[in-house]
């Protein structure tokens, strides 16, 4: 007899637990406010979708005079675990005819970057920063190789040095 009772108790218990699960899904079915989906391409125009610290890409901030902080010392290149940074320097004539080493091209291979942040952390002059752009899709892989210093830009400290000297 106890077997029969257990048999029906099992069935009732099963139905009860199943109904418990159905209550959860039913509750969410009836509460469309709980929807968490963000409709991506549209939402870009409505609100900010990434945080300020988001690691989108490595950028080199330039000020209004098209000047940056990079001295071309090459520490970031040395620290980069993947070789995604290449620094090409050139020599220009500076004060009193001496040649000074300045940055020519700060090449950044986005395709190789793992976003570890070491280059930004170790930069002695805070020349690099995180950019929040994350839409990196391009049709050609070569477009992922970027030159971070803008054409015609120069090192900010160079003027200061000159000013200090004069």
């Amino acid at each position: 007899m106890s077997g029969v009772i257990k048999y029906f108790a099992d069935i009732l218990h099963g139905i009860k637990t199943l109904w418990g699960g159905m209550r959860i899904t039913g509750k969410y079915f009836l509460s469309p406010k709980e929807i968490v989906t963000q409709q991506y391409p549209e939402i870009r125009h409505k609100q900010k979708i990434v945080y300020d610290r988001f690691k989108g890409e490595v950028i080199m901030p330039h000020d209004e005079n098209n000047q940056h902080n990079c001295t071309g010392c090459g520490v970031c290149e040395m620290y980069c675990p993947n070789g995604s940074i290449e620094i090409i320097t050139k020599k220009i004539p500076g004060e009193n005819g001496k040649m000074i080493k300045v940055i020519d091209k700060h090449i950044y291979h986005l395709s190789m970057c793992t976003f570890c942040g070491l280059c930004i952390k170790v930069c002695p002059t805070q020349a690099l920063a995180w950019g929040q752009n994350f839409e990196h899709a391009v049709y050609d892989r070569s477009k992922l190789t970027k030159v971070l210093n803008k054409p015609g830009s120069s090192y900010k400290g160079l003027n200061k040095k000159k000013e200090a000297k004069s």
Partner: protein, 374 residues
């Protein structure tokens, strides 16, 4: 098929060999299981791995200790923070660096947040393995809140290479504590729904209870650690047996279930989420003001010798073994990854079960394939 290559398979007449993976919905990555079936009954499971072997151990021999951090992220991507911490703790212990109190508590909070996020993802995926597709979305929905906390502070959601030997890469966001507490409050409300939807469900219980029983002896012999080991009634929580960080100053329980079946492993993880929430509540208040990193030389050179550091990741015991020859690169670096050991017990415990159970068992072991392949 070349029979010489296949001598590891014991096949009788009428058996069929089924390849599950490398592209299969339930192997969670590129794991290939060669299953010998008699009807639907599993007779032998031969795991094949190496599809995403990246040679991290070899790469480590060419990287400085600071550069290694970002490689460890990519082993067990779901416990990225714990992996980072393992290497950092090893270097800190070897050099005798005293890490600021603030960092220690932040690390604990992050450890536990990562653990919860990992268990949530596992819960979602386990539901999906068993056919409850809605569970997947609920787990992911709540995990998103943790990832938002991560993104706000570290800029990335999963692989945040945030630890560095001596402390953290940069300070956490000012809102970190507030948002973490908000999450704890939110998630305490949602957790009962998880139980109502899946844990109590009679179908779910029938699918997991008594399935894939792993005895304590098997677990120890095969080196199974983490929640999978604790589900077999064997205490293997590194946070308790060899405390690191500030775990010895926090109150939490080590969850142990004696049954050793899939359901026990499931329950261990679900209870661990609760414990992690407790730990976070304790630790968040103790995050004091202070520096976010200790003073460390720009180039770290470990003294000559061998080092070993154990930490508890979301999946078990991660061991980092370093042989240093005094240079800035490690001479040899080896990771004892928890998943590697957890995977190979599969053949022992899945034998004699049905193919649907194989999915339930391998799901309950919570395998992350990049950690196995390294």
């Amino acid at each position: 098929m070349d029979t010489k290559l296949k001598n590891y398979i014991v096949k009788e007449n009428g058996d069929i060999i089924l390849n599950m993976g490398p592209q299969h919905p339930s192997t969670h990555g590129v794991l290939r299981l060669e299953v010998v079936l008699k009807g639907e009954t599993v007779k032998q499971v031969v795991p094949h791995i190496g599809y995403i072997h990246r040679g991290i151990e070899k790469m480590c021999e060419y990287d400085t200790y600071k550069q290694i951090i970002h490689l460890t992220d990519r082993m067990d991507y779901l416990s990225a923070h714990m992996n980072n911490e393992a290497v950092c703790l090893l270097v800190e212990n070897a050099l005798g660096i005293e890490v600021p109190e603030r960092v220690k508590y932040i690390r604990v909070v992050l450890d536990e947040l990562t653990r919860i996020a990992s268990h949530q993802l596992w819960w979602s995926a386990y539901g999906m393995d068993l056919g409850a597709l809605t569970a997947f979305f609920y787990g992911m929905r709540d995990r998103e809140r943790i990832l938002d906390i991560f993104e706000e502070s570290f800029g990335s959601r999963l692989l945040h290479s945030f630890n560095t030997p001596g402390g953290l890469m940069h300070d956490v966001h000012p809102n970190f504590q507030k948002h973490t507490m908000e999450f704890v409050k939110y998630f305490r409300k949602k957790l009962p729904e998880y139980h109502q939807l899946l844990t109590d469900n009679v179908i779910f219980r029938n699918r997991t209870q008594g399935i894939g029983v792993m005895s304590k002896e098997t677990a120890i012999a095969y080196g199974v650690t983490g929640p999978s080991g604790r589900g077999s009634g064997y205490s293997c929580d590194v946070r308790k047996i060899a405390p690191y960080g500030v775990y010895d100053q926090l109150e939490f329980e080590e969850i142990i279930y004696d049954e050793g079946d899939s359901f026990a492993r499931y329950m261990v993880r679900m209870k661990e989420i609760e414990q992690s929430l407790n730990i976070i509540e304790q630790a968040v208040d103790k995050i004091t003001d202070g520096p976010y990193t200790a003073k460390v030389k720009p180039i770290i050179k470990l003294p000559e010798g061998e080092y070993y550091q154990r930490v508890e990741t979301a999946r078990g015991e991660l061991g980092v073994y370093v042989v240093s020859d005094g240079k800035k690169f490690p001479y040899r670096m080896h990771f004892r990854s928890p998943n590697f050991n957890n995977l190979f017990v599969l053949n022992t415990i899945a034998k004699g079960h049905l193919i649907a159970d194989l999915v339930a068992i391998s799901g309950s072991l919570d395998l992350v394939i990049p950690d196995i392949d390294r």
